[in-house]
Amino acid sequence: MSFVVPKESFNGKVLAVDFGKDDKALAIGGETCLPFLSFEGEIPHKPVIAYEIQDCVPDDWPDTVKNVYKDVSGNPVTWAKYCQNELKAKAIALRLSSTHPDRGDRSAEDAAKTVKDVLAAIQVPLIILGSNHIEKDASVLVASAQAASGSNCIIGKAQEGNYKTIVAAALAHNHKLIAMSELDINLAKQLNILITQMGFDKAKLITDPMCAALGYGLEYTYSVMERIRLAGLAQNDPTMQPPIVGDVGMYVWKIKETVASETDVPDWGALEERGIAWETVTATSMILAGTNLLIMRHPKAVENVEKTINELV
C-alpha cells in the first residue's frame, strides 16, 4: 500500500481584513484551509500579535507583567511608543480601562483624546478596546471611532447589548469591528448576522468568540473556534468567515497560576516562567484552533508565540 497525502479542500474561505495604514498596515485571514495546513490551501497572512496597553496604570496586572512596563505605563503614549520602538510591536491594542464606572469612570471625551494622542505617537496599526461595560462602551467607542477617523483601526467590542451604536460609528468612520459573543457558535453567528443586517460589510468584521485561559475553560474557546472555522470553510457559511481574535492577555494575567508565588504553591514552580508560559501556551493553542489576531501582554510570551508562528508557516 503506498501512501497518498490525504488532502481536503474547501469551498469556503476566511475573509481577509486589513487594518492600519501606509507601510505599517497589516492583514489577517484570507486562508482557504485549516490553521497552518498549507499543503492543501492558501495561507496569505500569518497570525498577528498586538501588544495590549491601557489608558491607566495597570494596577490589577500581576507583577510579572506589570513590572515590564513600570517605567512607561503611567502614560499610554509612552507605553505605546515603548511597545512600537523597543518591543517592535506590529500592532497595539489600547484598552480604555479607566472609562469603566468602577475604574475611574473617565468620560468618552477623555478616551477620545487618549486615542488621538496614541495615534499621533505611533505608526503601527491600533486596536481600540472599551472597558467591557456594555452601556459605557457604547459612548466611549463612538467617541473613539470618531477621534480615530481615517486611521483604519479595529474597534471593539460590539456585543449584543450595544452593537447598534458601535456598528454605526465603525461604519461612519471606516473602521474594522470586533463582534464579541460568549462562547457559543450560534450566538457568534447571530451577532454577525445582526451587524451585517445594519449594512456593515462582513469583510470588515472580526469575530471574538470569547477567550479563556488555559485551565479555565480553554477547551470551550478552542472548540468554538474550531467549529467556526469548519463552518466557514467546509460548510461555506459566509457569516462564519470573518477572522478570529483571541484576547488572551486579559484572561491569563488574573488567574491564580499567574499570580500565586512559589512560596504559596511550591508544587507549581517558578512564578515568572509559569506566568509567561501560561500566556504562551494559551496563545499557541488559540492559533491552532484558528485565531488570526492575538492580543497579548508579556513581551517574552509574544516572542515565543511569534517564534512558534514562524515555525508553523
Binding site: S2, P6, P35, D102, E226, E257, E273, A289, L312
Partner: protein
Amino acid sequence: MALTGVQIFKLLPKTNCKKCGFPTCLAFAMKLAQAGVDISACPDVSEEAKATLGAASAPPIRSFSLGTGDKAVKLGAETVMFRHEKKFVNPCAIAVNIKDDLSEDALANMAAEVSASEIDRVGQKLRVDAISIEYASGSSAKYEAAVKLVAAKAPDAAIILNCKDTGAMEAAVKAVAARKPLIYCATDGNAEAMAHIAKANGCPLVACADGLDALSTLTEKIKGLGVEDIVLDSGAKSAKEIIEHNTQIRRAALKKSFKPLGYPIINFVMRDDSIHEASIASVAIAKYSSIVVLSDISKWKDLVLFSLRQNLYTDPQVPMQVEQKVYEIGEPKADAPFMITTNFSLTYFIVSGEIENSKVPSRLAVMDCEGLSVLTAWAAGKFTASKIAQFIIESGIADQLARKELILPGQVAILSGALEDKLEGWKITVGPREANAIPTYLKGRAS
C-alpha cells in the same frame, strides 16, 4: 474504517436463510455495521469474509500501553480529528529525554524529578509519564548502567530507550525487559535487528523514517517481522512538520483506513528555550501526538503542559465539574461576603474570576449540581431551596461567619423566600444576575 452495511452485505452468502436470527442477509449486515451482532452468528460465511470483516473492525489507530503497572499510559485508539466531535480518548504521554553520558547524580536527579512530578489538578493525578534515555556515550556498558539506574530511581515511569545501536539496545532492553521499554528506534537500516529485539522481549517499537511514504513502507516491514505494537516517528522536527505530518497520519488512519499509519505518534520537541519548547509541545499535544518528548522539565512547565492536555482531552459532551465545597477567594475574614453557585466548571471559573476581580475577599459555596449551570440546575430541580439549605447546613460554614448571610445568584431570586424558611436564622440576599456585575456589587457592599 468500519464497513457500511451494504459493503458487508456483499461479503455475506445472500441466502436469507435466517439462521442468524435476522429475516434477511441485508438486515444482518446492517446490524453488523452497527456492531450490534457478531459475524459468527452466520454459520455459512466464508473465512475470507471473516478476515475482511475482522480487519475492518480493528480500531483504525492501534492501542497498547506504554510502560507497565497501574501508571502505564494507554496510547492510540483515537477516533476523531476534532474534539467537539467526540472525546479524544487517550491523553498523550509526556516524556523527558536524558543522555546516558551524564553523571550518576544527574541521572538519579532527573529520575527523582520525574518520580516527584505528580500533581493533583481538578481531581486528576497528573505526572511526567516516561523517561527517554539517549545513547550518547558510545559505550554499551555505560548505556546499560544508565538505563538500569534511571529505571530503578523512577520505578513508576515508562522507559523509552533512545538508541540506534542494536548491540547497546539489546543489552539495555534485557536489563529492563520487565518494564516493557519502548524501543527507539527501527530505521530502514536496522529494522530487522530492532524488530527481532522488540519481538523477543515483547516490547513496543518506534518506526522512524523521513516522511510518511518511507514511514509507511517501514511499518509494513516491521509488521511483517512480527511486531504489532508500533509507534510512528515521521522525522517531524519543526512545528510545521509536526502539525502537517500528524494531521496526515491521523486522517490517513481514520478517513482512508490506511493501516500502515494506524499507530500512535511520538514527537521530539526539543528547543533551546524552555518556554518555547512548551509552546512547540502544545502544538504536538493539540495535534495528535501520543508521546511528547521534552529536553527538560520543571514544575511550572509540567503544570502548564498537564493543564493543556487535560483541557483538550476532556469530554466535550460531559460538563466539567469542580469539587463541591466552600472556596475561599482572597483571605476572607468572618464578615466577608458568602455567595453560592453551581459546580459547572465554567460557571465556577467565571464567578470566581469576577470575585477575584472585585478584590473583595469572599467565600464561594460551590454546590454539586452534576455540572449544570445555575439556571439549568434550578430548572432540573438540582438547585432547589431544600437542597441548598441541606448543603449549607452540612458544610458547617455557619461557624466561620460573623453573620449568617447567603448571597444567591440573581437568576434564582425566586428561591429566596423558600430558602429563608429552610435556613433558620439566615438572611438570604439576592445578588447580581450576571457574573460580570459581581465586582460592582461586592465593592458596593464593602463601601
